[in-house]
């Protein structure tokens, strides 16, 4: 092959192209924008593919509830920045009557929806009845108290709700902060009702609420656009528009926030957050979430004709074998230590952290339980995010006490089918509190009769189950918290779980955004206090 001049030129060109490509990859950060382009519009980059419906009676996904909470008001609410205390919203005051099961609410006077329809006790009754009648998954939060048919209007601004049994006040009220208890506009419901659906079809893509924002547009898997409600009865929202754009690729979200094209990157992972920490123009905002990660151990799992996980000594051994520091190390800023089942931020939180990696102690426990040579076990885990890495660490840790772990990655659909059928041996999973009260967590982790986590792991413990039921109806708040202290400790030392972290939500936010206090759940977020500065500090 002879190489002529033209050929040489082509080769040279190619070499230059490849070299410059390599060079660009190693370039540092380009110049960062210093001014917010438009200060009355907030742009959020987020994966919104999970949204199904904006009808509060239906909305149960992260994205839908986030939006629904801007469009609607509720009787009571939990507000930024702390989201800790129940505060009045549509209701101004409330009290429990002498029979201990009936609640009376006073409704704020002279409120209207944007179209002029008044908000009063009847409106609230209609909204709650509507939710219970549609009986969608989201309704369980209020349905669980058996108030169906027992909501009565006493006068224009007084409402009574009678529950089927005695329920602790905090429990009942925090359930009313859930989006399914939102107050909807009866005029619009009547207007858009089709074939008895109570306007659910229309409300899937339109707002019928009294909240600080109105839905301008929802295009599936593209964006939500919210505009400020000019007629809002409360403080005027500072932002005129909120645009939530669908960005499913997390790396793309990170690039966008760095480039200044979006104001908030919602779903960034721990390493990506670490990358943007300390970068000029970006700040990281964190809030401990109501989600915890745990290792579930099936008490009934049969391995080699025995049930090793049924012996609490073995479970204790596993709890002492885990390297909690390594796990925290991997999660970087995205997790805080937690070993009990009530998350920090919820009343009843138990900060005890008695377990730490002690391989010798773990080995002793295994020997005491009669498994000095260990056993083989299968660990189920999802293949996404950080789960495979966690699984590998668990596998490594347990190998030190002769427990031979085989990791099986399976998709959620299959994993939950097996889990719900008590068919697993070990499983790595997460659980989030449904609302800001310890009862739903206790029911899941301690009460097997509810057929959630305790049942899935075949931990049929009557003591825990009864204590849960008692604490649910305890009206004395102090006594109630004592019960949860006892319950969380009991589950910590005897349960089929090794809880190891509480997740922390981390957001990439441009420094020109102020007033953004993210909520620890997914349905309490409130944007009405958020605003943008013209120049970043």
């Amino acid at each position: 092959m002879k190489i002529g001049a033209k050929d040489a030129a082509v080769i040279l060109l190619i070499i230059i192209l490849v070299a410059s490509w390599g060079y660009f990859l190693t370039l540092g950060r380009p110049a960062v924008p210093t001014k917010a382009t438009e200060t009355d519009t907030l742009i959020i980059a987020r994966d919104i593919s999970d949204a199904v419906s904006l009808d509060p009676a239906r909305a149960y996904e992260f994205s839908s509830c986030l939006i629904v909470n801007q469009l609607y008001d509720k009787l009571v609410d939990l507000r930024p920045p702390e989201y800790k205390e129940i505060e009045p919203e549509i209701a101004t005051e409330w009290d429990i009557l002498a029979d201990n099961v009936t609640w009376e609410f006073k409704i704020r006077e002279d409120l209207t929806f944007p179209d002029g329809t008044p908000i009063n006790a009847t409106t609230v009754k209609l909204s709650l009845d509507r939710c219970l009648e549609l009986a969608q998954t989201a309704a369980w939060v209020i349905e669980q108290f058996g108030m169906g048919g027992n909501i009565t209007v006493v006068d224009t601004y007084t409402l009574r709700i009678k529950l089927a049994e005695v329920v602790a006040p905090r429990l009942f009220l925090s359930c009313l902060t859930f989006t399914s208890a939102a107050i909807v506009n009866p005029t619009l419901v009547q207007e858009h009702e089709v074939a008895g659906d109570l306007a659910s079809d229309w409300m899937t893509t339109h707002s019928a609420g009294s909240g600080p924002y109105i839905l301008e547009r929802w295009e599936k898997d593209v964006e939500f656009v919210l505009v400020a409600n000019e007629e809002y009865w409360g403080a005027e929202p500072k932002l005129k528009r909120i645009v939530v754009r669908h960005v499913p690729e997390l790396t793309a979200q990170m690039l966008q926030i760095e480039a200044g094209d979006v104001d908030i990157a919602w779903n960034l992972l721990a390493d990506q957050i670490e990358e943007i920490t300390g970068v000029e123009g970006i700040k990281v905002i964190r809030v401990p979430s109501f989600f915890k990660d745990y290792l579930g151990m099936n008490v009934n799992a049969t391995i080699d004709e025995e049930k090793p996980l049924g012996d609490n000594k073995v479970r204790d051994a596993i709890r002492y074998a885990l390297d909690y520091d390594a796990i925290l190390d991997i999660m970087k800023g995205g997790a805080i230590p937690l070993q009990t089942f009530v998350d920090s931020g919820i009343p009843g939180y138990n900060p005890a952290l008695p377990y730490f990696r002690d391989v010798d102690k773990a080995r002793d426990l295994m020997a005491e339980a009669g498994y000095p040579d260990g056993f083989a076990v299968e660990l189920l885990v999802q293949p996404t995010l950080y789960w495979p890495d966690l699984a590998v660490i668990v596998q490594d840790n347990l190998a030190d006490i002769d427990i031979d772990v085989t990791i099986t990655t399976i998709t959620a659909a299959e994993m939950y089918e097996i889990y719900r059928a008590q068919g697993h041996e070990l499983i790595l999973a997460e659980w989030g509190a449904d609302y800001s009260d310890p009862d739903n967590l206790a029911k899941a982790f301690a009460d097997y009769t509810i057929r959630q986590l305790a049942w899935r792991n075949t931990w049929y413990n009557d003591y825990a189950s009864n204590l849960t039921k008692e604490a649910c109806s305890e009206l004395d708040t102090v006594k109630r918290l004592e019960m949860y202290a006892e319950l969380t400790d009991y589950v910590l030392y005897n349960g089929p779980y090794a809880i190891f972290i509480q997740g922390v939500y981390q957001y990439g936010v441009r420094t020109w955004v102020e007033g953004f206090y993210p909520d620890p759940t997914f349905f309490l977020m409130d944007f009405s206090e958020v605003y943008k500065e013209a120049v970043y500090k």
Binding site: M1, I3, D7, V10, I11, I14, W21, F24, L25, L27, P30, T37, E38, T41, I43, A45, S49, V52, S53, R58, Y60, T137, W140, R217, E219, K220, D221, V222, E223, V225, V243, R245, H246, V247, P248, E249, T251, A252, L255, Q256, E258, A259, D261, V262, I410, T411, A412, A413, E414, M415, Y416, E417, R420, A429, W431, G432, D434, I450, R451, Q452
Partner: protein
């Protein structure tokens, strides 16, 4: 046989193929272990899961479900998606325009890159330009798409600020009202030239990556068919007549060489519909690929079957059109 019979016969075969696809996908999806309902709301209480399962009819025996599905299909009802809770038909109508736009753009780029590459390879056979062109073309089918996509986003969007970020439009550009579902068309209808141009700008990188895949096949076919034709008698005759080389190439060689390439373009279009899957996720384009993948991962039965059928239909029609055109251009085929 004449053209009409040929076409008719092909259409009949296509129906058979679609039915086969339906049966296979139905069987496969139901063999696949896992319960989608329990996983959509992992924390929902068991009674709720049972209730939803009953509502959707997933507890009925298999053959009943299949027959009921077929019956509805004949009435144009693709069933309802478990994930979006909307009719699958509605989902397909919402998402398929974007994939078509992406695949079409990618095919244009694939042809624009592939044919010249193939020509260079053929004309400068065994010389350096040939080798470089071939390596470039083959690299196209050797790379993990999302890897290349992420790299390009990082370099061209973030560091060089030459290309826009993910999505169809820049965050501050408002969407025009939806009329046809094709953003390219809707933006023109609404007179929004800025949105139109911005969208094309957004399509460049994903189409380029997808196009690389197709370019390889097109380049290869162009190269080999050009080499075939270059050997032929009539080319020698044309040269002997003293015609300039460029005219020989364009008028005689290219026209004949491109005929088999047309077939490859049809195949390419189908491939790109599929390849769009990962590209759409990386670049945040709301198309059929990411809808179908999400449905497959979550075992959203009806959505998977609907999208599979739709992609198969488009693919088969693309092939049919190409084959008919080819048969029209080259009479030898239909008499074969």
């Amino acid at each position: 046989m004449d053209l009409r019979t040929y076409t008719a016969r092909r259409l009949a075969l296509m129906v058979f193929v679609f039915f086969g696809i339906l049966v296979i996908s139905f069987v496969l999806i139901y063999i696949v272990p896992g319960d989608p309902v329990g996983a959509i709301y992992p924390q929902a209480p068991p009674y709720m899961i049972e209730k939803i399962t009953r509502e959707w009819g997933f507890d009925r025996p298999l053959h009943e479900q299949f027959l009921s599905y077929l019956w509805k299909l004949l009435h144009g009802d693709f069933g309802k998606s478990l994930l979006t809770n909307r009719p699958v038909m509605q989902d397909l109508i919402t998402f398929f325009p974007t994939t078509i736009e992406l695949a079409t753009f990618a095919t244009i780029l694939a042809v624009a890159m592939g044919i010249p590459l193939g020509m260079i390879s053929a004309l400068k056979k065994d010389k350096i330009p040939d080798h470089i062109a071939r390596i470039f073309a083959i690299s196209g089918v050797s790379m993990p798409v999302y890897w290349l996509g992420l790299l390009m986003l990082t370099v061209f969007y973030y560091q060089l600020r030459l290309m826009p970020g993910p999505g169809q439009l820049d965050p501050y550009i408002k969407y025009p009202p939806t009329v046809t579902g094709f953003l390219l068309i809707d933006s023109l209808i609404a007179g929004r030239i800025d949105a139109f141009l911005n969208y094309i700008h957004h399509l460049i990188m994903p189409s380029f990556i997808l196009g690389l895949f197709g370019a390889a096949g097109i380049a290869r076919m162009t190269r080999s068919s050009m080499l075939e034709v270059l050997r032929k008698e009539y080319v020698r005759t044309a040269r002997a007549k003293g015609l300039r080389e460029r005219i020989v190439i364009i008028r005689h060689v290219l026209r004949n060489a491109l005929i088999p390439t047309v077939t490859v373009i049809g195949v390419t279009y189908g491939m790109l519909l599929e390849g769009a899957v990962l590209t759409e996720t990386v670049f945040g384009l709301p198309g059929l690929g990411q809808y179908a993948t999400r449905a497959a991962i979550h075992l959203d039965f009806l959505a998977v079957m609907g999208s599979t059928l739709l992609i198969a239909i488009i693919y088969s029609f693309a092939n049919l059109i190409v084959d008919v055109v080819y048969a029209y251009l080259d009479p030898r085929i239909r008499y074969g």
